[in-house]
């Protein structure tokens, strides 16, 4: 799914520059093609699921924040969470992002055997 990767990069480029002139499109295409490519096994479904997770996590983060404000969470624990193996680094990064973005959970470590160490706060 190489062209998907390119599309993502183009999207970021146009968001950053906010300019749709011909020169900018040409420069953006050049930058996107010159940046190093990595072979991966991510499918369209994987990307859509992660993007969906990000969109869900924003209101979820606010809900968790309000929960933390109104009910004090004073207990802490470290748990292991399993993820699907053989993912490309970009998807691992986005997974870590989604978990850490919600205030109750923080990823401490990503282990090579496919586990995340997650630190979370709980109500007593």
């Amino acid at each position: 799914m190489n062209y998907l990767n390119l599309l993502l990069r183009l999207l970021i480029w146009f968001l950053l520059t906010a300019d749709l002139s011909l020169a900018n499109i040409v420069i953006g295409l050049a930058v996107v093609l010159v940046l190093p490519n990595r072979k991966g096994r991510a499918t369209l479904g994987d990307w859509l699921r992660v993007i969906g997770n990000i969109l869900i996590s924003i209101p979820l983060a606010y809900v968790e924040a309000l929960e933390m404000i109104f009910f004090p969470h004073s207990a802490e624990e470290v748990t292991l969470e399993r993820v699907r193996v053989n993912r490309i680094p970009a998807l691992i990064f986005l997974d870590i992002f989604v978990i850490t973005f919600t205030p109750k959970t923080i990823v401490l470590n990503y282990r090579d055997d496919g586990y995340y160490e997650v630190h979370r706060v709980k109500r007593q």
């Binding site: 968001l15 950053l16 906010a18 983060a61 606010y62 924040a65 933390m68 404000i69 969470h73 802490e76 870590i96 992002f97 850490t100 973005f101 205030p103 109750k104 923080i106 990823v107 401490l108 470590n109 990503y110 630190h119 706060v121």
Partner: protein, 92 residues
């Protein structure tokens, strides 16, 4: 109406800031404080920025970029601080 929404969001962000920053004074672990800081610094600041966005829509591109970089950088910073303060084994 627009004013009301914007000031509500900004006050919500300020409440988040205050609530999340106060635990820094306590004697809890670094990780526990990181949780409350992610409430204040990521979510509170995002609420303030959205409030500004509603109030001054002319600067939308600037504020939108601020929103994105707030979300990404603060989250990654939380991960890096958590990883490093525990003395992680391999490079993160």
């Amino acid at each position: 109406m627009k004013e009301f929404i914007s000031y509500t969001l900004i006050s919500l962000g300020l409440v988040f800031w205050l609530w999340g920053t106060l635990p820094l004074l306590g004697k809890r672990s670094v990780l526990f404080k990181l949780h409350s800081l992610s409430v204040s610094d990521t979510l509170g600041s995002m609420a303030i920025t959205v409030g500004l966005l509603v109030h001054f829509p002319a600067d939308w591109s600037l504020l939108f970029l601020a929103l994105i970089s707030l979300a990404i950088w603060n989250t990654i910073l939380g991960y890096v601080l958590a990883f490093c303060s525990r003395g992680g084994q391999k490079d993160g």
